[in-house]
């Protein structure tokens, strides 16, 4: 036997060594997968901690590295990141997509029907506005996220409301699973009368009328409660001879005449400042305004109470601004990414995210609207009890310009066509018909471009 010949013993040895090397990571519990996540950078300072902790926990259990980046929405950095990653087809595996982005990038997102199917079987239906935005062409293209999702009910100074408008808002909407006396009279008409009374008293409602989301959302909820759609599901313009739209516009004009004269320039922080400074009796906002008031002006914070949005002839609608978790189709870890997102959407993890954000984050499943945090937060204790949708609210979530196709609605939303319509009538003294003519032309332009 020559020296160069391979012996049976040597072959066996080499085989054992090779197998040992290949399986070493598994043997020693080394991570074999890396998932890169770009989550929304939470406004509530502790908000990111929950996601960081939950991702680390999932990574340990599944022997995966979960790299978490938090991308701010200040300066629309998150939108720019999404656009850049979509163009370059590289970047994170999982990204947080704000309201309209899943629809815009649906062709580049992994179908998550399987995950949503399992979650819906476990937790029941998803809030309708999340379904409108996240389900495109009959398929879920992203998972409605817990972190970052907000609603915009009314945050009321109950002392001022009682004093100037004679409405005991806490009795009407107590921190219990029932509506109080007079809850059925909480309509836009009552609201407009209260706005007049508070304006006369020098504490006008702080409702923005500019082009930022708070303005578009509260007006969108008002329009929805009158059934005032400017475009139908197929993208047909429905402005002409629309009695519902005219009624909604009349109400919006009536209310806007009772607002401070500079609301046309307000941004998303102006209404918060109006409440916190004690100059306003009511704003539409998630609990972040109250949290800031509790810190910066405790006397005001202790007088705030969150209640549902007033109802209109077609029901009660509350502005909803969700985030979604989506997986890019260029990701190489689509399976583990789905598992991670399913884990983050489970009730226990959703509760952790909501509690860490002081109740700011709203889970997408209606069955999860009973987390303890909303009952215990204060002072006053129970102030945000009515922040999530409760059964006795008889309310639904709404997105301005729904039910128009998302690719068209997003353009109308970002151009704030609803607030501009009212501004043309109130500020520029245009007739309603002239303003409707302008709206129709703008919608036609949007529709033509697709």
């Amino acid at each position: 036997m020559s020296k160069s010949e391979v012996t049976r013993r040597a072959t066996l040895g080499a085989g054992v060594a090779a197998v040992g090397t290949l399986t070493a990571p598994a043997v020693f519990g080394q991570p074999t997968t890396t998932i890169r996540c770009g989550f929304w950078d939470h406004w509530v300072p502790a908000g990111n901690d929950a996601l960081r902790r939950l991702c680390a926990q999932w990574g340990e259990r599944n022997r995966a590295n979960v790299n978490v980046d938090f991308i701010t929405s200040v300066g629309n950095q998150n939108l720019l990141t999404i656009a850049a990653q979509a163009q370059s087809r590289s970047g994170h595996d999982i990204l947080s997509f704000p309201t309209w982005e899943p629809a815009a990038h649906q062709r580049m997102l992994v179908n998550v029907d399987d995950v949503m199917g399992r979650l819906i079987r476990k937790y029941g239906p998803v809030t309708p506005a999340a379904e409108y935005l996240g389900k495109q062409g009959g398929n879920w293209v992203a998972i409605p996220a817990v972190s970052g999702t907000q609603m915009k009910p009314a945050c009321v100074r109950f002392d001022l409301m009682q004093q100037h408008a004679g409405i005991d808002i806490r009795a009407m909407w107590p921190a219990e699973n029932r509506a109080g006396p007079g809850a059925d009279t909480w309509t836009w008409d009552t609201f407009a009368r209260a706005a007049e009374a508070c304006n006369r008293a020098g504490v006008p409602f702080g409702l923005p009328m500019g082009s930022f989301t708070d303005a578009v959302d509260w007006l969108g909820a008002l329009f929805a409660s009158y059934g005032a759609n400017v475009m139908d599901e197929r993208g047909n313009i429905t402005v002409r001879n629309n009695a519902n739209l005219r009624a909604a516009v009349d109400m919006a004009v009536r209310i806007s005449r009772q607002l401070p004269n500079d609301v046309w320039a307000w941004d998303d922080a102006s209404n918060n400042r109006a409440l916190i400074s004690g100059r306003s009796a009511l704003i539409f906002n998630p609990p972040s305004a109250w949290v800031s008031a509790r810190r910066d002006n405790p006397a005001v914070g202790a007088q705030c109470w969150t209640v549902p949005v007033p109802s209109g002839p077609q029901g009660r609608f509350v502005g909803y601004l969700p985030y979604f978790w989506g997986i890019w189709n260029f990701s190489r870890v689509q399976g583990p990414a789905k598992e991670l997102l399913e884990f983050l959407s489970d009730r226990e993890q959703a509760d952790a995210q909501t509690s860490t954000s002081a109740g700011y984050d709203i889970p997408p499943f209606l069955s999860m609207n009973d987390f303890n945090v909303w009952s215990t937060e204060g002072p006053p204790v129970g102030t945000v009890y009515n922040y999530p949708l409760r059964a006795h609210h008889n309310a639904r979530t709404s997105v301005a310009f729904a039910p128009a196709p998302a690719n068209l609605a997003v353009q109308a939303y970002n151009q704030a066509l609803n607030t501009k319509l009212i501004a043309r009538i109130v500020q520029a003294n245009e007739s309603v018909d002239t303003a409707f003519g302008w709206l129709e032309r703008e919608l036609n332009t949007i529709r033509r471009g697709g």
Partner: protein, 310 residues
Amino acid sequence: MADSMTAAVTAAAQPRSSSLQRLARRRSSIAFLMTLPLICVILGLVVYPAGYAIYLSMLSRRMDEFVGLTQYDILIESDTFWLVVFQSCFFAVTAVIAKAAIGFWLAHMLHHIPTKGQRKWRGMLLVPWVIPPALSTLGWWWMYDPTYSSLNWILAIFAVPAVPWLGEPWWARVSVIIVNVWYGAPFFMIMYLAALKSVPEQLYEAAAIDGASSWQRLRYITLPMMQNIISITVLFSLIVTFANYDIVRVLTNGGPRDLTHLFATYAFQVGILSGNIPRGAAVSLFMLPLLAVFAFFILRGVNQRNKEMN
């Protein structure tokens, strides 16, 4: 035989240069090589993005179909777009005229104070120009703030009613122009100051002997001598002001009723916020022909003056 031997020796003594060496010795080749980095930068940062923007503007909203000039056609039919065109022109022209006038006045003031004090004033007057505009605009926003405007607080001391700086269309337009002028006037000042210093003193002395008034000195000496620098700074500033983004974005976000939108802010709103990148590209490319018209007339004036001087 001897001749051929001699030729061979000569050839050996002077080795034939390769074509590469000959190319390297040419002046034009060296010039090309030295400008190559600049050419690469222009290709990478100007030509490619511009070409890509033109390509994008000819795609459908989903960017999966070539639609030619449809995006431009849609824009031309949009009321809002024509508001943007008007506001961009109004903003740029008004702001540049104001900046040039203030810069010219400041330069004159500085030119006539002693050198020692001049340096101090020059430094202070340049401060607005060196602060990052996004930061200084935030300061202005606090002054204009709809609810807590410090300017209104001062006006209230003199019993002047509060001004809706950002809420009323014309005030909003004026407000954004004020900020742009505040930021840009020092640039004009420093350019004009340099130009003033290069005007020969003998010309003024001769004019003084002839009994010229200060207005006549300005009209017949200073302005003609500075004409080219004025034209170039105006053109440069017009381009930058036209493409302004941060001031409007921070102060008004284009409102109220889209009346303060500029090309850049509108392009961002349409392209990034509304997810219509081709339309956003089309909006921003509309700046090109407008600026080309401005540039054509201004540069033609500069060329004519140069020819006259030669």
